[in-house]
């Protein structure tokens, strides 16, 4: 299994943009000259967790630097420091050779740094044009100028998005369109250093090509680009050099020509990927969850799936493809979901989480702060949150029984018993997520566990534990459904993989036949040219 997993993860990914070796050599020469942006010994901690440890980087003009790393490696923290959202504990940033203190996003802009963030920074009630020029230093007091509108329209046209109406409010755009608007904002900033943090998470390959063309044009003008991604095809397509980060540390910075893909992957993962994902379970039971004709207006169209007991089904899709919304709808959190859902052969009416919970559907969200954890309450309270009725008499709680239940659950998921009394917000992200899992354990054996990006932002060690937990739940007879945009995880964990593009099911794969290449192809462009 290990070899198969490695093979699936490390297989060749096609390059899409042709490269020019002479240009690469010229770029290296330029780097030896002055660097546009330098980072020296940057460190940042949040409490005792060190998010960044002693990072040093240089970027010269006309260079594209890729930063690769897994979830939780520290890439986003680095970007947030460069753009003024966080302030570093130690270290300096030099822009154009001079030390720069960047304490607000506006100051970052003044220094010539612009960003497309992973979490889109668009204001839903404002129009497209207003969002493109929002916060830009170049906008005068009376801001409705025809030349600005023209520039915005031209930039959208450059990205192939001129079908987007400049006056439309952002709330009416699809998520792919929003990402293009955010990139258009970046391009109008005339920045010296452009930072793109996972900018293609929702885009088709055609759109991605156009963005690369625009970036390469800027590169030839002498601007620098920092490109953060964990999609290796993109790294090889556009970057000159790549820095690899792992657990807050910079593992290496190296030029790309000559670096093989396998070597890069190994640098990123730091260990063979086989250790992460446990063996699959043998037994498969009866269908626990059958979905037919699930439609969420405006998001998902006519989705269907069957999940058996003891099986992990993964729904792969980019952000906005509807994967996360399907999970939420099955958990009862979407009020206008429509479709036929059978749980253990009984019909489930959608729209009420309480009803779903009574039928044995449990929900774990990757958005812990918003949907998962009661931060000010203790770990114990969090663990037993859903089983108060089981241990109460006439409405009165049986404290001893609850405490015992809590201790059992804590040991089951690997949370130290001594932490039961501390507040949930004091736990690390990985432990908080284990808490969410713990809440769902020890239910009736025909339960269904729905998960929405459960390992988001969690370090490698905790993730491996969570995958083990998932497998042990399978052994107990649960059926698990997981929506994720982390393709490595989907391919490593899923017994069945469904791919989703723009709200429609593309294909279904068994474990033996799924590869990352096929999944990426499915989720980034429509089959047979249909939208």
């Amino acid at each position: 299994m290990n070899n198969a997993a490695i093979a699936r993860v490390t297989e060749s990914l096609p390059l899409r943009v042709a490269r020019n070796d002479e240009e690469d050599a010229a770029a290296e020469a330029r780097m030896a000259a002055q660097s546009v942006l330098s980072i020296r010994h940057l460190s940042k901690s949040f409490g005792p967790i060190a998010a960044l440890k002693d990072i040093s980087l240089d970027i010269g003009s006309g260079q594209v630097l890729g930063i690769c790393g897994e979830n939780g490696a520290g890439k986003s923290t680095l970007v947030k420091i460069l753009t003024g959202v966080y302030r570093p504990d130690e270290g300096t940033i030099l822009v154009g050779g001079e030390p720069a203190s960047i304490s607000t996003p506006r100051q970052a802009q003044e220094r010539g740094i612009a960003i497309v963030s992973q979490e889109l920074s668009l204001c839903p009630d404002l129009s497209v044009e207003d969002n493109i020029w929002l916060g830009s230093l170049r906008v005068p007091f009376l801001h409705k100028r025809p030349e600005l509108r023209q520039r915005a329209a031209d930039t959208l046209a450059l990205l192939g998005a001129d079908y987007i109406d400049l006056a439309a409010p952002i709330s009416s755009l699809s998520i792919g369109e929003r990402q293009l608007v955010e990139i258009a904002r970046l391009l109008t900033r005339d920045a010296r250093v452009l930072i793109l943090d996972e900018p293609t998470a929702t885009l088709t390959d055609v759109e991605i090509d156009r963005i690369f063309a625009a970036l390469l044009a800027l590169k030839r003008e002498g601007r620098s680009v920092i490109y953060i991604t964990h999609r290796l095809a993109e790294v090889f397509a556009i970057c000159d050099r790549v820095s690899v980060m792992r657990n807050g540390e910079l593992v290496t910075t190296t030029a790309l020509n000559g670096l093989g893909r396998e070597a890069l992957i190994e640098l990123m993962l730091g260990r063979p990927s086989g250790e992460m994902y446990p063996e699959e379970t043998r037994a498969r039971g009866a269908p626990a969850l059958v979905v037919e004709g699930l439609t969420l207006p405006g998001i998902v169209d006519n989705f269907a799936m069957t999940v058996r007991r003891g099986e992990i089904l993964c729904i792969a899709g980019q952000v906005g493809s509807g994967a996360a919304e399907i999970i939420s709808a099955l958990a009862g959190l979407v009020h206008d979901a429509n479709g036929r859902v059978m749980v253990n052969d009984t019909l489930l009416k959608l729209g009420s989480p309480a009803r779903a919970a009574r039928r044995g559907i449990m929900f774990v969200s990757g958005d812990r702060a918003a949907e998962g954890v009661f931060r000010r309450l203790s770990v114990l309270h969090n663990l037993v949150a859903t089983r108060l009725g089981d241990h109460s008499v006439l409405g009165f709680l049986r404290g001893g029984a609850l405490r015992a239940a809590g201790e059992r659950l804590a040991s089951h998921v690997g949370i130290d018993r001594r932490r039961l009394r501390s507040r949930a917000e004091d736990l690390s992200g990985g432990n908080q997520q284990k808490l969410a899992f713990g809440r769902s354990m020890e239910r009736q054996s025909n339960a269904v566990l729905l998960m929405n990006e459960p390992t988001r932002g969690i370090d490698v060690g905790a993730r491996a534990e969570i995958y083990r937990l998932m497998r042990s739940l399978c052994e107990e007879g649960y059926a698990l459904v997981m929506a994720s945009s982390d393709l490595e995880e989907i391919v490593g964990v899923g017994d069945v993989v469904l791919t989703l593009y723009r709200g429609r099911l593309v294909k279904q794969y068994r474990r033996s036949e799924v590869t990352m290449h096929r999944v990426v192809a499915d989720i980034t462009h429509p089959a047979d040219g249909t939208a």
Binding site: D125, L126, L134, L142, T295, I299, A370
Partner: protein, 358 residues
């Protein structure tokens, strides 16, 4: 055409037309209600409530709320009356400056200490109201300049007065500012998504205190002019000011979720409430009915602007269809939208936690 009807800022004017029609029917063509003196009294009320509603509306646009405007109104009346005996303009100016300073103070606390506005402005309401209470000793302080009182209320062009003109000018200035300037756009951005606006480069830490300074100034202006016009400063009850002002702002298109609403819309909302109240007066209802009506309007408006109203309405519609129409499809129940257009995280963000508390 349809888009004009659903425009939030047009709705209050439609409501205004509806109320006018009802009043006209009740009037029966006798010409008792629709006189210039009625218009004058409506606009006089507009002068008081309107300025408060504008300030409150601005604070709601940035997804906060300024509860202290009621206290500011009382206290600024006291300041104006006590200092404006010689120079009435000085009294108003001092009150307005105080309003600005207090607003900046509240906004700065919110930004610096990362506090929600409800707590801070609640404290502000109690403090300012308490100060006014202390200064007036629960009586009224009279203002000796009767000539100023008359001048402030003197009819201009038959239906306006100095006070209502000041209010109209304030609204026009606000409307221009919000629609045409970069700062106005930044205000909408801050309310629409504070974090996104900040990351984009908007100076949100300056916008918040500035908006609260505006609401403080507007409340001070309203309070000082009102006390001149009554030739006395006295305390102001919560229900007399906050209830109609919030109702007016929400009717006018402002939402507690922030990011929307225009000054012109707020004008419409205020006029709706003033017309309603004048209508009630004309019928001869006791003042307690006024409380009931404005309270009822605010109650309905609060439900209309509720977070889960769409969800619950949808559930009711679906229940109705299943029970009585025996249909279990959803055709026609929801608007068609392009695929991928609902941002899941936005739904979570908007539905999580009471707005106005961080």
């Amino acid at each position: 055409m349809l888009s004009v009807l659903t425009n939030r800022s047009v709705r209050p004017y439609l409501l205004l037309v509806a109320i006018t029609v009802v009043l006209w029917i009740l009037d029966g063509g006798r010409g008792v209600f629709f006189t210039t003196s009625t218009a004058f009294s409506v606009l006089q009320q507009f002068a008081t409530i309107g300025l408060i509603a504008l300030g409150l509306g601005l604070s709601m646009i940035i997804r906060e709320i300024d509860l202290s405007v009621a206290g500011m109104m009382s206290l600024s009346g006291c300041i104006a009356v006590l200092t404006g005996a010689g120079q009435p303009g000085l009294g108003v100016a001092l009150a307005v400056v105080f309003g600005m300073v207090w607003g900046l103070f509240q906004g700065a606390i919110m930004v610096w200490l990362r506090l929600g506005s409800i707590g801070v402005t609640l404290g502000g309401l109690l403090t300012l109201g308490g100060l006014a209470y202390v200064v007036t000793g629960n009586l009224s302080i009279s203002y000796p300049r009767m000539d100023v009182a008359l001048a402030v209320n003197h009819p201009v062009l038959e239906i306006f007065s100095l006070r209502s003109l000041v209010a109209l000018i304030a609204f026009l200035a606000a409307a221009f500012f919000m629609a045409r300037t970069r700062v106005g756009r930044d205000v909408y951005a801050t309310g629409s998504d504070h974090r996104a606006a900040m990351v984009a480069g908007v100076r949100t830490s300056a916008i918040v205190p500035a908006v609260f300074a505006c609401s403080g100034m507007l409340a001070a202006l309203a309070g000082s002019l009102l006390s001149y016009s009554l030739a006395a400063a006295s305390g102001v009850a919560l229900t007399d000011v906050l209830v109609p002002a919030i109702a007016a702002a929400i009717i006018g298109g402002v939402s507690l979720m922030g990011g929307r609403g225009t000054p012109i819309g707020i004008v419409g909302g205020v006029l709706v409430l003033c017309l309603l109240s004048s209508g009630l007066n004309a019928i001869g209802t006791p003042p307690a009915v006024h409380d009931v009506v404005t309270g009822g309007v605010l109650f309905l408006v609060a439900i209309a602007d509720a977070i889960d109203i769409d969800r619950r309405l949808f559930a009711v519609q679906r229940y109705w269809r299943e029970m009585f129409l025996r249909r279990d499809d959803h055709i026609g129940l929801t608007k068609p939208r392009p695929p991928g257009s609902v941002y899941h995280k936005e739904a979570v963000r908007r539905s999580n936690a009471t707005p106005l508390i961080k």
